[in-house]
Amino acid sequence: MIINKETLKNIAHLARLDFEEKEADKMILNMNKILTWMEQLNEVNTDNVMPLIHISREINVLREDVVKPSLSHEKGLLNAPKKDSNYFRVPKVIE
């Protein structure tokens, strides 16, 4: 896989990150280096090997359906950059 400017922009958009235009070339170079290094893994034959999803072998760690005291309304809103007595307020999402 080769990272070009378009992919870089797309990734930045998906991650909601800004970068300075002048840094683009350096970033593309670095990202390509990382990918090339990772490509070494292609040398390993993984036919008939199940993908590893969890390191732990635990299964069925589930919770009974009971309500436990959780976060109060006041505490929940405490750190919000913008709020009123009921809601979190955010920049308008639709026109």
Partner: protein, 503 residues
């Protein structure tokens, strides 16, 4: 041929049902509708750093129950996945869902369609029920997002996270649906089932049951699918129907004019009945699914499935068959009774006591439904127990009370005194009919007196009867019944009249 007649609809539905668990999907805060904004929240829902989810066991029970009811295969090992996107009503930045390993795979939703087309099998064009099967692709577990409020004149959007993290099951159908009526029948069936199984209250207005429609058109006979649109924001059965009808017009017009159009998401506007393209900043829906590292895989073994099987109530289709085949009710009656689980259960309770199924059905769909509709009550708020209602039906059948007296005098008193049985009320108010002639000499003498009077009033009729016109018997009995104000047992009166006319 009208232009549209050349085309057919191809529809697949995505139905989301909020599970009626008491706590949320991945954290233990309360799952309830209608609380003050942002009161049912937790550190996980708000995506505070270092918080970890833990999946709700009951949400699996509910999803498995649903899958078993629809004949799905239950996936033995499932893992959760993250579906990544940014939106303020989803603070984590991803929805925890199931991607490659949905809890249920396959299955069928059997729908009932009304058909009154004239065919060789149905020459009179009667309305008949036609069963039709819609294939299910999958059912998976996921979580709901919060609610964003956009108020005109406000410069900001308001976020309420009470709904964020509420467990959902999503039913994905194959594109097997061909009309708005079929879509309606499919939704009706899903709604009925989630309510029978007690997994969701099925309330579309409150959003506990929601539906997205994938819709395209193609020439009849074509095997390729057309370009589809996904319609969102459908909060009632009738809006689903309206949106489908609108899209059919819109898409056939485009196809007819050879205008090519791309796959898109459209919003339905209930005030205009139209759909408009949703301009998404994110052109591509690149959700970058990957396995959720914070939740362990869930293995559903045979023991678990057996446990759920044992909890399954009778399903509406099985009850419909039982009521029509064993109880000989009409399709219509059986449909009315099985529409809601509460009604079907009440009826079954009655049928444990009375074998007069038709009478039980009539009381339930007539008097009881009428009472509830007038007062906008639910069946569980009806004062009289199924047992007391059924015992009244039995009293009528045994000839101990008269049907009209029961409906006009005994039943209204039972509504006021739900603890009293029909027999108690009939005894107190002296409304019991005599069933044993010997026991009721006095009353029988009174009745005989009436018969004598009537015979004296209609000498010509008596003569005709004696000459062989036995059809007049009914007239005599009717006259006597009037005199006794319906209190006499018609059977006894009949016997007495025959006896006296024979003298």
């Amino acid at each position: 041929m009208i232009m549209k007649d050349k085309y057919e609809l191809v529809i697949g539905l995505e139905v989301h049902a909020q599970l009626q668990t008491v706590s949320k999907a991945y954290f233990s805060e309360e799952n309830t509708y209608g609380s003050m904004p942002n009161t049912n929240i937790s550190v996980l829902t708000l995506a505070h750093p270092g918080t970890l989810p833990k999946a709700n066991k009951t949400s699996f029970d509910y999803a498995i129950k649903m899958g078993l009811a629809l004949g799905s295969q239950i996936t033995e090992e499932t893992i959760f996945a993250r579906k990544n996107y940014f939106y303020p009503d989803l603070p984590k930045g991803y929805q925890i869902t199931q991607d490659k390993t949905p809890i249920c795979i396959g299955g069928n939703v059997i729908i009932n369609l009304k058909d009154n087309q004239i065919t060789p099998e149905n020459p009179e064009g009667k309305t008949i029920n036609k069963e039709h099967s819609i294939r299910l692709t999958r059912i998976h577990l996921e979580e709901d997002a919060g609610k964003s409020l956009h108020i005109d004149g406000e410069e900001e959007s308001f976020i309420d996270l009470n709904r964020a993290g509420v467990p959902l099951i999503e039913f994905v159908s194959e594109p097997d649906i061909r009309s708005a009526d079929e879509a309606h029948a499919y939704l009706t069936e899903i709604r009925k089932l989630v309510r029978y199984l007690d997994v969701c209250d099925g309330n579309m207005e409150e959003g506990s049951l929601r539906c997205d429609v994938n819709i395209s058109v193609r020439l009849i006979g074509a095997t390729e699918y057309g370009t589809r649109a996904e319609i969102k924001n459908l909060n009632s059965f009738s809006n689903v129907k309206r949106a489908i009808e609108y899209e059919f017009e819109r898409q056939t017009a485009l196809v007819e004019q050879n205008i090519t159009f791309g796959q898109e998401t459209r919003m339905f506007d209930a005030t205009t009945g139209t759909t408009t393209s949703l301009r998404m900043k994110e052109a591509m829906n690149d959700y970058r699914y990957f396995p959720e590292p914070d939740l362990t895989p869930v293995v559903v073994d045979k023991t678990w499935i057996e446990r759920i099987k044992n909890l399954m109530p009778a399903l509406p289709r099985a009850l419909f068959l039982k009521f029509t085949k064993e109880y000989n009710l009409s399709d219509y009656d059986a449909e009315v009774i099985t529409a809601e689980k509460e009604t079907a259960m009440y009826f079954e309770e009655m049928c444990k006591i009375t074998k007069n199924y038709k009478a039980a059905c009539n009381w339930l769909t007539g008097n009881i439904k009428g009472y509830l509709n007038e007062r906008t009550l639910a069946l569980n708020q009806f004062p009289i127990s199924a047992k007391n209602m059924a015992e009244m039906v039995n009293l009528i059948d045994a000839g101990k009370i008269n049907h009209n007296i029961a409906a006009k005098q005994i039943y209204p008193k039972m509504l006021e005194n739900p603890t009293k049985s029909a027999e108690m009320i009939a005894t107190e108010d002296n409304l019991l009919l005599s069933t044993n002639i010997a026991d009721n000499e006095a009353f029988n003498l009174e009745v005989e007196g009436f018969i004598g009077e009537i015979m004296a009033n209609f000498p010509a009729k008596v003569a005709e009867y004696k000459a062989g016109k036995t059809g007049l018997l009914g007239m005599f009995v009717g006259e006597v019944m009037k005199k006794t104000k319906g209190k006499a047992n018609p059977k006894t009166v009949n016997e007495l009249v025959v006896k006296m006319l024979a003298l």
